[in-house]
Symmetry: C2
Subunit: 216 residues, 2 copies
């Protein structure tokens, strides 16, 4: 579908200290109104995925973003916060006022549910349909079962049948935002000889960044 | 340098349950003589990198391999084993006879040190030089310092000066193999609508695989 969409990999840890990692589509970078030096990365997930349980239990994540052209690698360590539908039970676990950067958005009355619907609406119809399947990772007797799944879900306001409306509701109920607040950014440039590496580390809750050149 | 080399990302966990992930170059897939259904993935590292400490403490890793053409994603969970120089102190931590698949190699007298030197020799000269730098991640006053680092290290048998020989020794002493024994392989095909996902899970120490079609 979106062959050229920007993709990175996000690592999480489960309750048995086993690491997990998978590709995510990048959706946006957001800046608090008065703190442009505190950008937050936005990606999305299915709220039923195991990584959501992992992030709710241990919000420490690391993201690796490898640029297709230059082969540069950004490693971004930080905290992940899941924003499901405001009617979903796990929404109660989302406490933006207490987070590093999201508190800045909360102060200015950021509308999480509005953003969630906007991002959902911006995706393609076949993409929106990915949130209408049975639970991700659950057993299928055969690929035949998949033939009855919706192949496309219309944007909000464009549903023409009761079935399309139902699919919109299901997809939106499973669709969640994931915000990542960075605390370490580690950039390796491999296009030069020798490679160059720069590391930015965030100090405490003030959000001040220190820059250091380090050995690649 | 090797723009088209196959690259995947490997996630590890540190002692504070923080996940880490970075790109690795794929080197080889090895099969035990009498057990072709137990392939082992081979990649390489600098023995001084923090991931080595993480792998020695917690050998559980997950690797994500995203194919550039089809965009298919393989997630491979397993155990990582580091093989440094046989003269390096951490070599003692490598106990292949007790591992899932490497025990099969050990039974047939696999020569780890020989393989390590072969893989090192197969890399390009500028790549071999990457193992001659000061400790990865350590502080640099400026990129100027990097100008004195060796830019290329010759293959074994091809060193012409005492300095080249010294660089070979340093590079080889820092160069380590990483073997990954898979226990779960999770394959998502995104080229078809709807996406298809197949999961193979290994049962116990017999190495038998079960295959399951699951919801993407």
């Amino acid at each position: 579908m979106h062959q050229r969409t920007t993709v990175y990999q996000i690592a999480t840890v489960d309750e048995e200290s086993v690491p997990h990692v998978r590709s995510h589509m990048h959706r946006d970078i957001l800046y608090p109104v008065d703190s442009p030096e505190r950008p937050v990365i936005l990606t999305t997930t299915d709220v039923r995925a195991p990584k959501v349980t992992q992030m709710l239990r241990n919000s420490r994540v690391e993201l690796v973003w490898r640029l297709a052209g230059s082969q540069d690698q950004f490693r971004i360590a930080g905290f992940a916060h899941v924003v499901p539908s405001s009617t979903h039970p796990s929404y109660d676990a989302f406490k933006p006022a207490s987070y590093l950067d999201l508190s800045k958005f909360a102060e200015h009355g950021f509308n999480w549910e509005k953003k969630r619907k906007e991002v959902w609406n911006e995706m393609s119809g076949p993409f929106r349909a990915l949130w209408c399947t049975p639970d991700p990772g659950s057993h299928l007797a055969s690929h035949e079962e998949q033939k009855n799944w919706p192949q496309s879900v219309p944007k909000l306001g464009e549903a023409k049948t009761a079935e399309e409306k139902k699919n919109q509701e299901i997809s939106l109920q499973n669709f969640a935002l994931v915000f990542i607040e960075p605390v370490v950014v580690d950039w390796v440039q491999v296009g030069c000889v020798p490679n160059q590496r720069t590391k930015w580390t965030r100090k405490g809750s003030t959000g001040e960044w220190t820059e250091e050149i380090v050995v690649p």
